[in-house]
Amino acid sequence: MRKLLAASLAVTTAIVPMMLAPAKAADATVSYWMWDGNQAPVYRQCADKFEAANPGVKVQITQDGWDNYWTKLTTGFTSATAPDVFVNHISRFPEFLANGVMEDLTARIAADKVDMSAYLPGLADSWNKGAKQWGLPKDWDTIAIFYNKKMVADAGITDEQLANLDWNPNDGGTFEKALAKLTVDAKGKHGDQPGFDPKNVAVYAWSYDPPDGFGQQEFSHFAASAGFQAVDKPWGTKYFYDSPILAKTLTWLRDLSIVKGFSTNGEQVGRLGPSPLFAAGKIAMAPQGSWMLSTYRDNAKFAWGVAPLPKGPEGRKSMFNGLADSIWSGSKNKDAAWAWVKYLGSSECQTIVGKAGVVFPARPEAVDAAVKAHQAKGIDVSAFTLVAKAGSTFPYPIMDHGSEAYAILKTAVTNVLLNQGDPAKILKDANDEVNKLF
């Protein structure tokens, strides 16, 4: 309460009635939905603080798995049972905007003088369309390489070498040479030794998730570092999946497994992804999003680290995506919902989230808290912050018809990696199909 009061006094008197509104509205319950089970308990801590500062307002957090989450949310919008506040993802943003299910936060942000420049650059902009703000930045993610420390040391690769590998789609560069050293076949021969049997591998150097349409963890970083651009612009109308650079990149990734045997192939990694393979010592490295940190921390019972992605011809590139908290346009208590959203975006709550070491919050000071929290657990996460800071990021494609394009591209990429035909043709056909959606 004292904090809220202090905050109220700090702003102009015109805003004070608005600030007090949620506190006065006794017994309001703000429902809040999210999909990440790792984060739900952390946000409960924020909710406890928020409730203490706003007597009479309760926050009810509901968590559901990714797929179910969107189905429930969409049906909730239709049946008027959607939550007041929900965690939003870029891939759904255009569709939600077109259908008017999100509350425009611009006026409230201006009235409460919320400093949008307090977030990491680019995060707030992703949620701005038509000069209106549709969500407050929550957290962000980049991609880096999780690696088994012992395997890397045994292969004679130093941490410094690992952090400075280069890659190109023609011969894979020093990155591919490192992968060769890290791969061990059933007879103990390494990938760079004569007599290595690529068909009978005991430990793969590389493994990746069953690819999604945009290849966030699987291939987007390789392709982008070779100069590939997935779409013409945010909110654009053209995909460039017929690009020869992408075909070349995916062909390299395909051959890395089916010809060279340095990587698991698409048929070997099921829905569980590479993390159980990593924990079981069947793979040495995997490209993963920063949201996977706590999963690896919980499952790998040996020393592991995080290394930056290799540098491509165009430098080091990682997809940079940020989540936001949005308010449902049909919410019955928007004032309380806004108070909660504002608190979620505040330094206090984001620092709590950062300290939990689950995700990287949207505010720099909270990111520092997250980095320290990981350090305290013996994990250097600078590989994630390095790509976020260097301006070497590219955004998650914000496009209309997102879900449909995603499904078509996912099928195409899977077909390429599973060697179901000529990569250039498969990708061109899919690209034509996707561009026809617009």
Partner: protein
């Protein structure tokens, strides 16, 4: 009983007696309706209304979030030219063909074996136990068991000198693996139904046949199989309908993948309805599936003469 006392008293007039009979009939009917009511309400609320509603929705363009727009039969027209839809039909048909013959044969074999050889309650309970696990749980168990690199199944294969198999992660094996999971789960139920059917076959038929010198195989072909026909019809109709509607195992294990290899009709419907928010289009597919299943069922009932038994 009050009727019986009353009618002689008012017996002077034919019409009065007629009215009382009508009243009795009416009351009986009312009792009947009262008994049927709970089931009917359930049927109406959970089956009839949604079906009618789906028919309505199938004639519209509706994304869940905006008001629906009437488009007539446009959704059905589009369906005819949608390669993805036809692909999903092929995948579903393949699934049914992998699933039903094997499941029925195994179920029948188990039922006959446990009837003719080992009449053990424990054995029957064991056979049915996979069916008692929910589809989602059995899907999850098999997802772990069939994992390409870490799964127990592959560990066994390797132990006996066979190569690793990708199972659910392979476009070639995904639908076969899903069919395998379904067979594992449903064979017990099929066996139980056949077993119940076997109990209704009079034992003296077997005794007579044995006196005539018939062997087990001949008795199975000439007595068991023909007399099981109504049960066979029930089993085939329900399992085939169920197979065409396979969804939960797919949702847990493959999500229609890899590369659309297990995108069955229901997954196609789900994808369109809840991932692409094309409710009208998805409903059109549902209605089409509904009509096709009715047709298949009618043909089956006719072929198997399901409403008659050879015992009468």
């Amino acid at each position: 009983m009050t009727d019986r006392h009353r009618s002689p008293l008012s017996g002077t007039s034919r019409t009065a007696s007629g009215t009382s009979r009508a009243a009795r009939k009416w009351r009986e009917a009312l009792t009947g309706y009262a008994f049927v009511a709970p089931a009917f309400v359930g049927f109406a609320v959970f089956y009839l209304l949604p079906t009618v509603r789906a028919m309505q929705i199938s004639l519209t363009d509706w994304n869940l979030l905006r008001a629906p727009r009437f488009v007539g039969l446009a959704n059905f027209e589009r369906l005819l030219h949608d390669d993805k839809f036809w692909h999903s039909c092929e995948v579903t048909l393949a699934y049914v063909l992998y699933n039903i013959p094997l499941q029925t044969a195994l179920g029948l074999a188990l039922a006959v074996l446990s009837d003719r050889l080992a009449r053990s309650v424990i054995l029957r309970a064991l056979i049915i136990s996979p069916y008692l696990i929910s589809n989602v749980v059995s899907g999850l168990i098999w997802l772990f068991m069939l994992d390409p690199l870490l799964g127990l199944t592959n560990a066994w294969l390797v132990a006996v000198g066979l190569p690793h198999q990708p199972f659910l992660a392979s476009p070639d094996q995904a639908i076969i693996s899903v069919a395998g999971i379904s067979i594992w789960r449903h064979t017990g139920l099929t066996a139980l139904l056949f077993y119940a059917g076997l109990q209704s076959i009079p034992k003296h038929l077997y005794e007579a046949a044995r006196l005539e010198g018939a062997g087990e195989w001949l008795m199975f072909r000439r007595i068991t199989l023909p007399l099981l026909r109504p049960v066979m019809a029930f089993v085939l109709v329900t399992t085939i309908i169920g197979s065409f509607q396979v969804f939960d195992v797919i949702a847990v294990t493959t999500s229609g993948g890899p590369a659309d290899a297990s995108r069955v009709i229901l997954w196609f419907i789900y994808e369109n309805a809840f991932q692409f928010n094309k409710m009208g289009y998805a409903s059109a597919v549902s209605i089409l599936l509904f009509l096709v299943l009715i047709l298949i069922t009618l043909v089956q009932m006719r072929l198997l003469r399901a409403d008659q038994s050879d015992l009468d």
